[in-house]
């Protein structure tokens, strides 16, 4: 059971809602992923077209927990204002806090991130910070009152998988009791399974599903991989060895040469 901010979820895949070939495929992909938390965003809406309302209806019909993000924000002020607007629109105090530092890698600006987290926690938000695998930053975020951390696997949309497994493992063992969700950079289900095998609590991804040739099938594949990874972690995997170790018992083997 994934438990964040006092709420429990049986599924450990958080799925983004952007970039699908059509809203119908978005909806079906989310269903097939079995995801219970879906990320959403806010964008300008014109009075004439009201384009966002149709999208919101699709998401509401799925009856899932929504996690609004502050994607595209570069400063504390922008992120905090966006979070307030998201709280009103989506009627939730959950916020995926993204404060981006640089356009090529979309790397989090961790200084502004910690600052924004502090302001938002004081305002009563339940903050899900998108951060790096830096332990000191993680610690600062927890000190502000964040109860979950979302370290990156690799840059957003890159599909590279876990760029630095060592750092992620260290983070896991450094914060054994904090819910940790690997967010961004996932490309294929094995990347997600790897994160789960390392003991992460959940995985958040979007492009890997939305950009697949068949997003609906890929959503299902990720659900299976994450479940497999979790089972494997709970089953306590063996450690890797340098030398072979025969798996068939040697005792009682016939002597035939």
């Amino acid at each position: 059971m994934l438990e964040v901010y006092g709420e429990k979820f049986t599924n450990r895949l958080l799925l983004g809602s952007a970039q699908y070939p059509s809203p119908a495929i978005l909806s079906e992909s989310i269903k097939q992923s079995q995801s219970q938390i879906v990320t959403v965003s806010l964008r300008r809406e014109s009075g004439g077209d009201l384009a966002g309302q149709a999208f919101w209806q699709i998401i509401q019909d799925l009856k899932l927990k929504v996690l609004p993000n502050t994607a595209g924000c570069y400063t504390v002020k922008e992120a905090v204002t966006t979070a307030h607007m998201a709280r009103e629109v989506f009627n939730t105090d959950w916020i995926k806090l993204e404060v981006i530092g640089e356009e090529d890698t979309l790397q989090p600006n961790v200084f502004e991130l910690v600052e924004a987290a502090k302001v938002l926690v004081e305002d009563g938000f339940k903050v899900f910070p998108y951060t790096t695998d830096d332990l000191i930053v993680a610690d600062k975020l927890l000190q502000t009152g964040c109860e979950v951390l979302m370290p990156w696997g690799a840059p957003i949309g890159s599909g590279r998988g876990l760029n630095n497994p060592y750092a992620l493992k260290t983070m896991r063992s450094h914060f054994p009791d904090t819910p940790l969700i690997v967010d961004a950079g996932i490309g294929v289900p094995s990347h997600a399974a790897q994160a789960m095998e390392m003991g992460f609590d959940a995985v958040l991804l979007n492009t890997a599903v939305a950009g697949a040739g068949d997003p609906v099938a890929m959503a299902k594949a990720f659900n299976l991989a994450i479940e497999a990874g979790l089972l494997a972690y709970e089953a306590d995997p063996i450690d890797a060895r340098d030398m072979a170790e025969p798996s068939t018992p040697m005792m009682g083997k016939a002597f035939l040469s």
Binding site: Q19, T39, L42, R44, G52, F55, H84
Partner: protein
Amino acid sequence: MKIYLNGVETTVDHTKLEAVLIQLGYQEVTIATAINGDFVPLSLRKNTQINEGDKLEVLAPMQGG
């Protein structure tokens, strides 16, 4: 009076945010508003003054990752 609605110069006839939103076609819809970069909650829209040249942002749910 001219304001900037989502970055576009727009003429409006009212001075209170709620009335401006109705005039601009945002009735019974899920949106959030900010004036000059500051969030204006739903409860304050009725009495929030909007002035010539103000930058009004109206945001709605959208796809996100």
